[in-house]
Symmetry: C2
Subunit: 381 residues, 2 copies
């Protein structure tokens, strides 16, 4: 029997908090999944990721099938053993990365042929092969294979891709074959067209999945568009199953999406921003490359529990970033992932105590104490 128990401990409006219970551990929801594209959350030791409170990480089927290869990961004991992360792992199906990274893509009704962005070698993904790869990786939460379109796209194209994804969802489910101690999630597609999103959601529910993702969002559209689609789509998804908004997002995106009933998120923002000199803080984002930080002896956030935020001066981190030193990216990624996990813990607590609407307002007020606002509050160095 596949799928995991999902218990909702509290709701507040459409927002809910609870836990997904897996044999590899509990996933507290709403959950943020750090992205470990190539079987590593960039610049982080796995123990650090865990210590920040992450219950689950995401890894990418597309990258891992190309290098080191799914069969090799299986021979080395599976992805948990390979990357030293004994806790739950979600893998995407490869569909999104094939669209965004591979060259010479050719989609047919059966699957996608493409060339590797690494060495140009030819590969093919079908729903069956995607599920097989995710099984070789020993993923806990397996995603159906889908076709992602770049938006905007003409309605006939959006509809065709959505219906193809539905068909591939059905084949993914057959290939998954109710794998014990695993879960399979379907993916709602349909671009920014509410009618197509609803057809997709209803079709997926009819097939029946252990959880439901909303895909094809946060690909450049305005936040309002994304939230409207969530408003229209989330109610069509079963209330007793986890909802996962793929590739989202900024702290503000997450706050707003949780208010619309989303339980799970993943995003490269905190890790990527960390490699580009940006620090997420309670008071907004700091650009550590800015010369204004050069003489600051204060840390990023003296009240943080994360050593990267609490123990190193901004002046030092500014120096590391300017000098291109790896430790700069290590510290900022650490800080940013800590920020995101604290964001989620605070969201869960606010929902549990029935003050989520107030929490959203309070968070936005804190962020309004932006980089410039905060600078004005600080004594000159």
């Amino acid at each position: 029997m596949s799928g995991f128990p999902f218990t909702i401990a509290a709701t507040d409006g459409a927002a809910r908090t609870g836990a997904i219970k897996t044999p590899r551990g509990e996933i507290r929801t709403p959950a943020f999944m750090p992205v470990g594209t190539q079987a590593t959350v960039k610049t982080m030791y796995p123990e650090q990721v865990r210590a920040l409170g992450a219950d689950i990480v995401l890894a990418n089927t597309y990258h891992l099938m190309l290098r080191p290869g799914a069969e090799r990961v299986a021979r080395l004991g599976g992805l948990h053993e390979f990357m030293r992360w004994p806790h739950p792992i979600l893998t995407d199906s490869g569909g999104f990365q094939v669209m965004s990274l591979a060259s010479l893509r050719k989609v047919d009704a059966d699957g996608v042929s493409f060339r590797s962005h690494i060495d140009g070698s030819e590969h093919r993904l079908t729903p069956e092969r995607s599920i097989e790869i995710q099984r070789l990786l020993d993923s806990d939460i397996v995603m159906q294979f889908d076709e992602c379109l770049a938006l905007p796209a003409p309605r006939p194209d959006v509809e065709r891709a959505m219906r193809l994804s539905l068909a591939w969802g059905e084949r993914s489910k057959a290939a998954f074959d109710n794998a014990p101690d695993k879960a399979l999630f379907g993916i709602v597609q349909g671009g920014d067209i509410a009618e197509l999103r609803l057809i997709s959601a209803e079709g997926l529910v009819e097939i029946g999945f252990d959880g439901y993702a909303v895909g094809g969002l946060a690909v450049g559209e305005p936040q309002a568009t994304m939230l409207q689609i969530l408003d229209e789509t989330a109610p069509a998804l079963p209330a007793d199953r986890p909802r996962y908004l793929m590739g989202v997002g900024t702290p503000d995106d997450i706050l707003e999406s949780v208010a619309r009933g989303v339980d799970m998120f993943d995003c490269v923002l905190p890790t990527r921003a960390g490699r580009h000199g940006l620090a997420y803080t309670r008071f907004g984002k700091l650009n550590m490359k800015n010369a204004r930080h050069a003489d600051e002896s204060a840390p990023i956030d003296a009240e943080s529990a994360c050593p990267a935020a609490r123990d190193y001066s901004r002046g030092y981190i500014h120096h590391l970033v300017k000098a291109g030193e790896t430790l700069g990216a290590m510290l900022l990624t650490w800080n940013n992932l800590a920020y995101y996990q604290t964001l989620m813990a605070d969201i869960r607590a606010a929902i549990a105590s029935g003050r989520y609407a107030d929490h959203i307002l309070a968070m936005k007020a804190e962020w309004a104490r932006s980089e410039e606002g905060r600078a004005a509050l600080q004594p000159p160095a």
Copy 2:
């Protein structure tokens, strides 16, 4: 009163083991100093460096004067506070890096004018300014300013640079002015000419320093040349003061140099090799880029106390290195610095128990179980 107590607990031939006692902590000798060029030991958190057993790290005057600037480091509380390393720090004088990195160098009797390799800006170093910078950094062990020549060079050039370095040594000492709780080391120059090395050593001893470095070696000459110069030079340096062989070296270089009475070493090898996919092990060096490691589930060294060596499979590290993931460099640097600190601890123990000659033989025999030899011993994956 400047300088630190140096106690020699045991000798074995010319090799000796003991400790330099500084207000910031004891430096067990023979000591290996990890290199923290830009105020960071690349890819390592400072706590990790300490936990491996490093008592002291080295930082570079040339790099830090250019970025972030010595006065800025002083404003931020000094180098220990800046880089979160509360233990002893040795800074070089800038002479070597001016020679190897700066452009448009112009040496005169008073000092060196040069342009920054970062932005082309003009700078000048003199013995007085070098000592001032090292004081601003709050270095514990300060190096005299010297002129380093690229070898081979004609004897008149070698002699001129050696005599200039002697004169700069005298000016460095005057500028240092017996700073309390600090030490000033002189630097023996003279290329590969024994007679000039002896003149340099005797001149330095006459000036009187808290310790004596041998500079201008390990710049491409054969190991035999370096060891011969040590054979000729070390006896001319006071037995009761620490001897420091700058920029050395391989594990074998260190073993052989300790046998000739050297107490301190620094080298970028373990950190640089870590960023280039190389792992130092008890059985020689492993090139983790080699495809042979792709399917290895064994770690680098299951008996190591270092998590990087003990807990991650070679197959995973191979993957990280091939994929250009930062964690690969982080793990290999960690492994390599652990190897070097264990090397030094074993050297100290062997001298203390009077079996240093045997220890050298045993170490070399282990290394002879080279990458290929070890591969042959392993069961196929």
